[in-house]
């Protein structure tokens, strides 16, 4: 009896300790993440005003904003999503409609999964080697290419998820009516999964707008207003990087505001996707 109650006590104690551990660890992770958001808001709001969106990046010691960086990011990210999404949808259609239980399709899924979490700086290097070196200068297009390599696997995954959800009997009904496969794809499968594909594209947009590493060797940076994609182009994350690493105090302030703005955009897009489309975020 005594031994039994000792054992019981030991088990209770272990359970108690494990719970304390769980509470502790949860508070640790929430503490750090709360601290992060808190300092983002306190430091970022000091310069978060209209001139941030109206003026271009200043030389040190001058007033200015991030207009050229925001526009550059918008153009490059937007084009990357526009370029990556159609190709990704075609691949997703191949995966689910043509290749599905085959060897090639499962290899393709595997490669796509690896691309999805591949180090983004390597993708930037790749574009540098095949595009920037060939054309002899950094350019917005190179940035677009590098970013679309990141957009692509995200949209493939998102579209594949929705395409596999389409019930077989719908396709069978179409086939029974004698509909050729291409008509089934264009008039049945794609319209049904449109929402999911759009969701994937929006998520990819949010993810890519925070990417810095692939732009370092491709779009580089530009201190001036530039909307020509054949020239080096500023982007929000790269400017934040440059400004934060600089020794100038007023640059730091702009970098913080830019960081706050970037985080707000990324979080808002994801929250919207969650609320409107009820879709889970694709993390891996």
């Amino acid at each position: 009896m005594k031994k039994g109650s000792y054992l019981y006590f030991k088990r209770r104690l272990k359970n108690f300790i494990s719970k304390i551990f769980a509470y502790l660890m949860t508070s640790v992770s929430l503490f750090f993440l709360g601290w992060l958001l808190f300092s983002l808001i306190t430091y970022g709001s000091s310069h978060f005003n209209l001139s941030l969106f109206m003026e271009t990046t200043p030389p040190p010691g001058m007033e200015g904003g991030l207009l050229n960086a925001i526009l550059g990011s918008l153009m490059m990210v937007g084009l990357a999503v526009l370029m990556g999404t159609p190709i990704a949808v075609v691949v997703a259609v191949y995966l689910t409609e043509y290749g599905s239980p085959g060897y090639f399709a499962s290899m393709l899924k595997y490669v796509n999964d690896i691309l999805l979490s591949a180090p983004s700086i390597i993708l930037g290097l790749f574009i540098y080697q095949i595009y920037v070196l060939r054309y002899g200068s950094f350019s917005g297009w190179a940035g677009v290419l590098a970013l679309s390599l990141i957009v692509f696997p995200i949209v493939v995954r998102a579209s594949e998820n929705v395409l596999t959800l389409i019930p077989d009997h719908l396709k069978e009904a179409a086939a029974a009516l004698g509909t050729p496969k291409w008509k089934t794809i264009i008039f049945l499968i794609l319209p049904i999964s449109r929402t999911g594909i759009v969701t994937g594209a929006v998520l990819a947009f949010a993810r890519v707008s925070g990417e810095t590493a692939p732009l370092l060797f491709t779009a580089l940076n530009n201190q001036f207003m530039n909307l020509d994609l054949n020239k080096p182009m500023a982007s929000l994350p790269v400017v934040i990087f440059q400004f934060a690493m600089s020794p100038y105090d007023d640059w730091h302030k702009i970098a913080w505001s830019g960081a706050l703005f970037l985080t707000l955009i990324v979080l808002t897009l994801n929250v919207c996707v969650r609320l409107i489309f009820r879709q889970k975020i694709i993390l891996h």
Binding site: N15, I121, S209, T263
Partner: protein, 320 residues
């Protein structure tokens, strides 16, 4: 009559041609994806060929990094990459496990969804924000405190003391490990949480019915059931940490001298690339940087390959 048959035949023929075009085009594009992956490696190998020829495998084992004498070795960057990622896992995995244990087993049900959403949103905060926060906020305050404490407490100890010698100004390998841990915590937590949620209620309730405590259910039922996904999630976090550039580049200090100490500035492969690639002068210099990139992509694709293999099937179940 014959007219109709002819028309039908024409339509059928046309449809089958379009069908073939559809199949071919999508197949070609899909093969193109493979092509891009192979080209990625080919370009890296081709670019680093000069460096491989010059230094061979000894590149991996020495740490001279001297653009003037054109002598390059990757040891300090490789060491930095592995150590920061390992530190990130060491700190991040227990925290992620504790948090997901809390969310799935202990939290009241009204708290579960908001917590899950919060964690998932935090996982998508751009890493440059984390790096910047590490440089301006974390390193000067808590980072310095922790490091001076570690330095005082451990630097005189035998063997492990070597890890904790150095200045404690907050810009070093240890801080980079902290920031990486912070980056992968929400990420690993959400994988763990999704995995734990997949354990059938029936199994868990049977264990509770036999009188098991919450901890025993987690340790003897949930963890064995989700072993594959848990390890896969950890590996995926490792893959992330290995390739991360921005969270590290701010706080690691970018020093090429090799030290074993965690309290000294160091470098990782990706931070070296980010800082030096556009300024690299000379073929051998940029070729050596590409050699480092090749090493990084080999390591991370192996790790990611294993993790995707472990997580196979899990994603399908979760998405249903």
């Amino acid at each position: 009559m014959g007219d109709v048959a002819e028309k039908t035949e024409r339509i059928l023929k046309r449809n089958s041609i379009i069908d073939t075009i559809f199949l071919r085009v999508s197949l070609i594009i899909s093969i193109g994806v493979f092509g891009v992956c192979i080209a990625l490696f080919a370009v890296l190998v081709q670019g680093s060929f000069l460096s491989i020829e010059t230094f061979g495998f000894s590149f991996l084992f020495h740490s001279d990094w001297n653009p003037v004498t054109q002598n390059f070795g990757g040891l300090s960057a490789i060491y930095g990459t592995l150590v920061t990622s390992f530190l990130a896992l060491l700190l991040g995995v227990p925290i992620a496990f504790g948090t997901s244990y809390f969310i799935t087993e202990l939290a009241p049900s009204w708290l579960k969804t908001p917590l899950t959403i919060l964690i998932e949103l935090l996982a998508i905060i751009p890493s440059i924000i984390l790096g910047m926060w590490g440089l301006f906020v974390f390193a000067p305050s808590l980072g310095v405190d922790i490091e001076s404490w570690l330095n005082n407490a451990l630097s005189s100890k035998f063997l492990i003391g070597n890890l904790f010698r150095g200045s404690h100004v907050g810009i070093n390998i240890l801080t980079a490990g902290f920031i990486l841990a912070l980056m992968i915590i929400p990420f690993i937590t959400s994988i763990f949480k999704d995995a734990f949620d997949l354990v059938p209620k029936m199994i868990k309730e049977s264990a509770y019915g036999l009188g098991a405590t919450t901890w025993e259910v987690v340790w003897h039922v949930v963890l064995p059931y989700t072993k594959r996904q848990v390890i896969g999630g950890i590996m995926l976090g490792l893959g992330r940490a290995l390739g991360e550039t921005m969270a590290v580049a701010f706080v690691i200090g970018n020093a090429h001298s090799f030290t074993i100490s965690l309290l000294m500035p160091g470098s990782t492969i990706s931070s070296v690339l980010a800082n030096e690639f556009t300024e690299a002068v000379g073929d051998l210099y940029s070729s050596s940087l590409l050699y480092l990139a090749l090493i990084l992509s080999i390591i991370s694709s192996i790790i990611l390959g294993i993790s995707q293999w472990l997580l196979r099937g899990f994603k399908k179940k979760r998405n249903k």
